[in-house]
Amino acid sequence: MTMTTMTGTLADPPTSTLAATTVVSAPPPHYLRETRLLIGRGLRTIPRVPERLLDVTVQPMIFTLLFLYVFGSAIKVPGIRYQDYLLPGLLGQSIAFGIIGAGVATATDFSTGVVDRFRSLPVARLAVISAQVVGQVIEQILGVVIVTGLGLALGWRPHVTIVGGFALVGLTLLGLFAFTWFGVLLGMMVKSSDAMQGLGFAIVFPLSFLAGTFVPIAGMKLVPRTIAEWDPISAFVAGVRHVSQGTNSTGSWQLEHPVTAMVGWCVLIIAVCAPLALRRFSRTGSK
């Protein structure tokens, strides 16, 4: 980049600046490079504040143990071992909880001056948001890996082909990506991490519990059942159960075509949230 010539040393006489700026007027945004640099910035801070990872480490472990050994002792699902029923549900719950993690991280980030500094640089504004999303997805992947590992250690027996394995990974990544976009958008709108915590739980609890995560939808009363039948997390969980345990769900179109439905949900969520987040980010400034 010719920018380096522009900087030179600070002791350069002003004339050199003027000469250089004639050559370098407003370099175009380098989206991928900037996104990569900003993701690096986020990842590098993780070892300095390891407690920030509690929500993707300790919390999923607690939920796994709680449902497997406490609630699970009273839940019987016909035709399937509870471990095999529960683990796809826990993966769905991890994806939903990603909303809170991404939202709180974004709200915290945006309430400090550092994001303003990025916005005042000639950096593509989409790069700042993309880096936020990708960084959060990377953190959430850790949570999913922990749930999967713990589940396997405690008796989850998925039956997957290689293709099925790829499908599972793809579906999970797509789900994480979509719900993280949603969380980042919320975090940008709320702007305070405390408010985001509150709002996040108000959204994520119904989203992850009013779904076929921990108990079968079929046994629920009419209102919760209807909600659960159309909850995107239900589609994800049903999809994972279908691929990993060969279980077919019924009750609504999306439960009968869970993989298609989940892909549809994710595309829809990203298509809505990404432009809104970018607009929100740019609205206070100029193009």
């Binding site: 920018m3 600070l10 407003a26 300095r48 500094r117 400034g285």
Partner: protein, 322 residues
């Protein structure tokens, strides 16, 4: 590039948030190579004004050209030309000074090698060496400010915008920031800064724009502004009430006095500054009245605002804005 092109030209610049008018129809010119200070109390609209200039806010009305580029339609070009140091140290708390500076340089498009070279020179220049590998969150306010300023100078910007560079700093750190800023100005950097301190504007700026309630109340050079605000004065504090009476008796024939019995103080206008101070000191010495304290005072910003906002419905000066 046209060297006569101004760094900032704003006409009728306005920013509204609902009913609140944060910046109300201000005109602002920052010629290249000069230092302009926006001076005013909290809530005067200074930060909103510089945020519009840095393209962090879109003006509601008015025109704004920064370094030859329209700030609304060509924000990216503006961002390439300027550097902003925000009001609160805008650094990543959980990265070190070195990592922050390197990131800023890389985000400006430099290769790793070029970025490292610049960062090393900035670390020397701003005396950051001893805490270069300390996390920002563990630094003092003054140290953070130095890193913050350095981060704005990974390029040599055509315009450097500093939003309240010394607010919250102890006096020593403030001096360090001032001397750094003066060095930059000496190198020809064009600077727009906001401040709440009259003294700071006086020390650093070629011209001052006084803002209150989003409006431009007055503008001019620091000395023009001070003339507008009122005269300097010398306060002489007597040891006791008897001493005050003696002082008044001796000085009243020589100077025009304002006496505050409560504070045992005699105030004397001193438009010529230290020359008047010397004359008054000689007179006090002649009187042989023991005194507690004698000092030359400039009007405070509070007094300036009282004076200027009370009279702002009158046509103030040649330089006053609409």
């Amino acid at each position: 590039m046209n060297t006569n092109q101004p760094a900032v030209t704003a006409r009728g610049l306005t920013k509204r948030y609902g009913d609140l008018v944060a910046v109300d129809n201000i005109d602002l010119d920052v010629p290249m190579g000069t230092v302009v200070a926006l001076l005013g109390p909290n809530g005067a609209g200074k930060t909103t004004a510089v945020r519009m200039i840095a393209t962090l806010e879109t003006p509601t009305a008015g025109s704004l050209t920064v370094c030859g580029h329209d700030a609304v339609t060509n924000g990216h070009a503006v961002r390439s030309a300027i550097s902003l140091t925000g009001q609160f140290a805008a650094l990543e708390d959980n990265l070190t000074a070195w990592e922050n500076l390197l990131l800023m340089a890389r985000l400006r498009g430099m290769s790793t090698t070029a970025a490292k070279r610049i960062v090393n020179s900035l670390i020397d220049r701003f005396d950051i060496g001893e805490f270069r590998t300390t996390l920002i969150k563990r630094l003092s306010g003054g140290q953070r400010r130095r890193v913050d300023l350095a981060a704005s100078l990974v390029i040599q910007p055509q315009l450097l915008v500093l939003d309240e560079p010394t607010t919250g700093l102890d006096p020593r750190s403030r001096q360090v920031v001032w001397s750094t800023v003066r060095e930059l100005v000496g190198e020809g950097v064009t600077l727009l800064l906001t401040t709440q301190y009259l003294e700071e504007a006086d020390v650093l700026a070629d011209s001052v724009v006084l803002m209150d309630h989003g409006r431009c109340v007055a503008k001019g050079s620091p000395s023009e502004l001070k003339a507008l605000i009122g005269e300097q004065r010398v306060d002489v504090v007597a040891l006791d009430a008897a001493g005050l009476d003696n002082l008044v008796a001796h000085l009243s024939s020589l100077f025009s006095l304002t006496v505050s019995a409560e504070n045992r103080t005699v105030s004397i206008p001193a438009p010529r500054g230290s020359a008047d101070l010397a004359a008054i000191a000689a007179a006090v010495d002649d009187s042989r009245v023991p005194i507690d304290e004698m000092a030359l005072h400039r009007p405070t910003l509070d007094e300036a605002f009282m004076a200027l906002t009370d009279r702002s419905n009158l046509s103030l000066t040649t330089g006053a804005a609409a």
